[in-house]
């Protein structure tokens, strides 16, 4: 299996309404990459488009707009972890030898149908993600004593990080008091415990190991991948509502593949669509023992969500996984500017879909 690196990346500014079409959004980071890359466009042999939009044949349309004629082009739609799935697909194409260069782009509008899984009738009228997030939070609070304040601090920290990210949707600092006094949505989840859908796009260029040095002096390598799907319906995702079982399995496989210990992760982008999900992630990713996630919020061993996470950046559904990879790549190649985590060598992305019924964990390193 060939090694695969990420040689370049780009992320657009996330906005509540960009007034751009899905294709205009998708083109922006691709043009940024292609203009600044040493790669001649005609050598690009795969284009994968991560989106939950309703446009048919969207990868091929994107290729036409970019003037690319790749061997491989298709779309990936897996709700909130479409982006990381697209990166894994690109990795697979390159490592197997089917192509050398794969452009992965995520783009989404705030009004995307990917914000809700209509099929899942086990949720009854409680269709929106906030309902299952509240159930997870209640279960964790009841079993382990996790507090609303601990969840609130996740939002405070991620919003603070987002201030240093020019592409983030939110640029304001919030306090714990702001979170605790924000409007109640579904107990214990308040408005500032929730992320917000938005328009946004991000792209990364993956390259095979023998071509990587032609494009960059600082390749960032994909060292480990783990994925797991349990179901589509929330009611079947796990019988333990304090654990996202798919994330545990995905993390275990990624750590095994990379031969990297969880304690050696320097920087991580976690799926904080709701504050409780970040707390569960600390445990599911083996950063901390089961039940201790609430106390781990104030740790300083691992830089968590330096871009601001989903809470700070916003959640353009098909884009998020790609933007996470772009951020960790920026960090590991020491190009993260004001939000640079000093001395980081290994990074991780954690990307969930549909109440954690599927998860993808990717480990990167230099």
């Amino acid at each position: 299996m060939r090694k695969v690196a990420i040689s370049s990346y780009a992320t657009t500014e996330f906005l509540k309404n960009s007034n751009s079409s899905i294709f205009e959004l998708a083109c922006k980071p691709c043009i940024d990459i292609l203009k600044n890359s040493k790669l001649p466009k005609k050598q690009l042999d795969a284009v994968l488009f991560s989106t939950c939009s309703e446009e048919q044949y969207s990868a091929s349309i994107l290729c036409e707009l970019l003037g690319i004629k790749p061997k491989i082009s298709h779309r990936i739609d897996n709700l909130c972890n479409s982006g990381s799935n697209a990166v894994v697909s690109a990795f697979s194409y390159i490592s197997s030898g089917l192509c050398d260069y794969a452009l992965v782009v995520g783009a989404e509008k705030a009004t995307s149908p990917g914000n809700k899984l209509v099929w899942d009738i086990t949720r009854g009228i409680f269709t929106l993600p906030v309902y299952w997030a509240a159930i997870f939070a209640k279960a964790h609070m009841r079993k382990y004593g996790t507090t609303e304040e601990q969840m609130g601090m996740v939002s405070v920290r991620n919003h603070m990080n987002a201030r240093k990210n020019p592409t983030a949707l939110f640029k304001e600092v919030i306090t714990l008091r702001d979170v605790m006094q924000s409007r109640k949505i579904v107990d214990p989840i308040k408005l500032l415990d929730c992320s917000c859908s938005c328009d946004g796009s991000s792209a990364v260029l993956l390259v095979s190991e023998d071509k990587a040095k032609e494009l960059t002096d600082n390749p960032v390598w994909i060292k480990g991948i783990g994925q797991q799907t349990t179901s589509a319906s929330f009611s079947k995702m796990t019988y333990d509502l304090t654990t996202i079982g798919t994330a545990q399995v995905a993390a275990r496989d990624a750590f095994n593949m990379s031969k990297i210990n969880p304690r050696k992760i320097d920087v991580a982008e976690l799926h904080d669509a709701f504050t409780i999900l970040e707390i569960l992630a600390y445990e599911d990713l083996y950063f901390v023992e089961k039940g201790q996630g609430g106390k781990f919020v104030n740790q300083h061993e691992i830089a968590i969500n330096p871009r601001g996470g989903i809470l700070g950046c916003g959640h353009p559904v098909g884009t998020t996984g790609v933007a996470q990879i772009a951020e960790v790549t920026a960090q590991l190649s020491e190009n993260a500017g004001r939000r640079q985590v000093k001395g980081c060598k290994t990074g991780l992305t954690h990307n969930l879909a549909a109440a954690g019924t599927s998860a993808t964990v990717i480990i990167l390193g230099v």
């Binding site: 099929w119 899942d120 009738i121 086990t122 949720r123 009854g124 009228i125 409680f126 269709t127 929106l128 906030v130 309902y131 299952w132 509240a134 159930i135 939070a137 209640k138 279960a139 009841r142 409007r183 109640k184 949505i185 579904v186 107990d187 214990p188 319906s233 929330f234 009611s235 079947k236 509502l241």
Partner: protein
């Protein structure tokens, strides 16, 4: 469901209970039939919604291995208590709904 009946798919070959309903069993791929399911269950977790059109308490209920999310009307409520489905159906907007109320008796909650 439109008639307010909670029927689930049961595999003709292996008796597996399936929800959401499916023509084929996910375990052995045999055909399934729809059968009325009993309505007693166990309240796994619950909380309160402040969202418009879903105000009130709701939770996950386990009905003999089938789990659904429905409204819970009653007080007091506690984790693991017995509840009973009082209503189910399909709203005019196409969304499925389930409604439960507590069962207060001296018997132990059913172990699932």
């Amino acid at each position: 469901m439109r008639k307010g009946e909670f029927r689930i798919s049961i595999c003709k070959a292996c008796d597996q209970k399936i929800w959401p309903p499916s023509e084929n069993c996910p375990i052995c791929f045999s055909e399934t039939i729809l059968k009325k399911n009993h309505k007693a269950g166990k309240l796994i977790e619950f909380t309160r919604s402040y969202m418009k059109h879903s105000e009130g308490v709701f939770g996950i209920v386990d009905i003999c291995g089938i789990r659904v999310v429905g409204s819970i009307a009653g007080d007091p409520l506690w984790h693991g208590m017995k509840v009973k489905m009082t209503k189910c159906g399909i709203n005019t907007n196409g969304s499925v709904f389930y409604e439960f109320q507590p069962v207060y008796d001296n018997k132990k909650s059913a172990d699932i």
